[in-house]
């Protein structure tokens, strides 16, 4: 009886229902906590591009975030957009970079996070730009903080979905992120050069300059993904950057 087809089918059906029910229960029960973790993680990533937050607790990060970060959303022309097609206000933190990545570059929304000196709302200390691209196995993304000259890298933070732990996943470590520190996006005449990760690790210092950093051993393809991500996204942000450099955006903001 136990080996009859009917028994097997009933057994499988019951097993599937029990296990499936268990999983959906766990998923529903844990969802609020997971969303909180994700939100905190994004804010951590934004802040960690400009300041040291590793020793901070979750609620400290959230309060520092609301104290120091001012966010706007711009389009590819560098113009601030405040409302979407339906007229609802756009909140930069809620802009889904991954969803926007699927649209054509001209149609995307580009959030910009301005980091203020803690306690002084008027002084912008850094501009933080989200970037998004393709790694080896899946999406990679990050936040690049620029100094007020909008050229020098103040800090970076990277993240990924499925890069290989120990290899490509190293882009999230402080060791790799620090390599970008002080590098420059533009050359002396103001052309966008971006910053490239070289192939292989422990390249001679002569190979490294303002626009090149040491690569990832065993993760050249992830490195290429990061290079492409930076190059394309700063191309998209170029209009905003040059407008801000000329002071156009700041004036508009003041008039408001």
């Amino acid at each position: 009886m136990q080996q009859s087809n009917t028994y097997i089918i009933i057994f499988s059906a019951v097993l599937t229902i029990v296990l499936g029910g268990l999983l959906s229960l766990a998923n529903q029960g844990l969802k609020p906590m997971q969303q909180k973790s994700e939100e905190l993680d994004t804010k951590k990533k934004i802040l960690s591009a400009v300041t040291e937050i590793r020793r901070m607790k979750g609620n400290e990060v959230l309060s520092l975030y609301s104290e120091t970060i001012e966010s706007i959303v711009v389009d590819i022309d560098g113009e601030i957009i405040e409302k979407d097609e339906k007229g609802a206000p756009i909140i930069a933190e809620n802009v889904d970079i991954a969803k926007n990545f699927k649209k054509a570059p001209e149609d995307r929304m580009y959030p910009v996070f301005k980091y203020h000196k803690p306690g002084d709302k008027d002084v912008v200390e850094a501009y933080i730009f989200p970037v998004y691209g393709k790694g080896l196995w899946g999406p990679i993304w990050g936040f690049i903080a620029l100094e007020t000259d909008l050229n020098t890298i103040k800090g970076t933070s990277f993240d990924h979905k499925t890069e290989t732990p120990g290899l490509g996943a190293r882009i999230t470590t402080a060791e790799i992120r620090d390599r970008y520190h002080g590098k420059k996006l533009f050359d002396d005449s103001g052309n966008l050069i971006s910053i490239r990760m070289l192939k292989g690790e422990n390249n001679p210092p002569s190979a490294l300059d303002d626009h090149h950093i040491d690569g990832l051993s065993g993760a050249t393809l992830t490195g290429n993904g990061v290079n492409e991500m930076l190059e394309s996204y700063f191309q998209y942000y170029l209009n905003y950057i040059s407008k801000t450099k000329n002071g156009a955006i700041e004036k508009v903001a003041l008039l408001d």
């Binding site: 999983l23 906590m33 499925t162």
Partner: protein, 222 residues
């Protein structure tokens, strides 16, 4: 004359001790003589991949032990119900459910760890050690024996990956659990070995562990 109360010894087999000699063997054997990694050479993939640092390795070890114990227990409890023709898929379903649970819990409470281990938590499903124990042990043994067997094999797996991670982290990054060891004892410029950070480093250490172990136990591959 006193009435003789005849106490007839009840012919009842005494319950086996919770940790009888036979049962201790389930736990002890996989630690060394029948180690899943060094002797059976299973679960190598994760042993190479997650062992660059102690912290993710520890999380991985705990997750694997959890999945093993509960899958062994569940399969053992329903071993007489499982139709033999679909037993592999039943085992897989149970393991996959447990792994997904681990992954969901990590996502909610240990988000950083969840991201770091992402693929490898999922890959516990295909970790041959887990399924191997279900097929070889849990399907034919009682629940408590199966739990012990799972603990033994889980610990056997864990101590090897933790040992590998120990050497890889200390020589590769000069740290233990992210704590800078060499700076603490006054060696400022400890030359870290880049090889240890790559999976190749894990092969070397694993090879050395197997060498030392087989030298001691006299195990020979036939």
């Amino acid at each position: 004359m006193s009435t003789q109360t005849i106490e007839k010894a009840v012919e009842k087999k005494p319950a086996e001790a919770i940790l009888s000699k036979r049962r201790k063997k389930f736990v002890n054997d996989p630690l060394s003589d029948d180690n899943p990694i060094t002797v059976q050479v299973l679960g190598i993939c994760s042993a190479l991949a997650v062992t660059t640092q102690m912290k993710p390795t520890l999380t991985m070890a705990i997750s694997v032990i959890f999945v093993m114990v509960f899958s062994n227990l569940i399969i053992s409890v329903m071993r007489s119900l499982v139709p033999t023709r679909v037993r592999i898929i039943v085992q897989l379903a149970v393991i996959a459910t447990l792994v997904t649970l681990v992954s969901e819990v990590l996502k909610a409470y240990q988000y950083d760890m969840y991201k770091e281990l992402s693929v490898f938590v999922g890959l516990i499903i295909t970790n041959c050690i887990v399924m191997g124990r279900l097929e070889a042990f849990a399907l034919a043994n009682k629940p408590w024996d199966s739990v012990l067997d799972a603990i033994g094999n889980g610990l056997g797996y864990s101590w090897i990956i933790l040992a590998v991670a120990f050497f890889r982290e200390i020589f590769g990054s000069g740290r233990l659990f992210g704590w800078p060891v060499f700076e603490a004892i006054g060696i400022e410029n400890f030359p870290t070995n880049g090889l240890m950070v790559t999976p190749v480093g894990a092969f070397f250490i694993l090879g050395l562990i197997i060498w030392v172990q087989r030298n001691k136990t006299g195990y020979v591959e036939h």
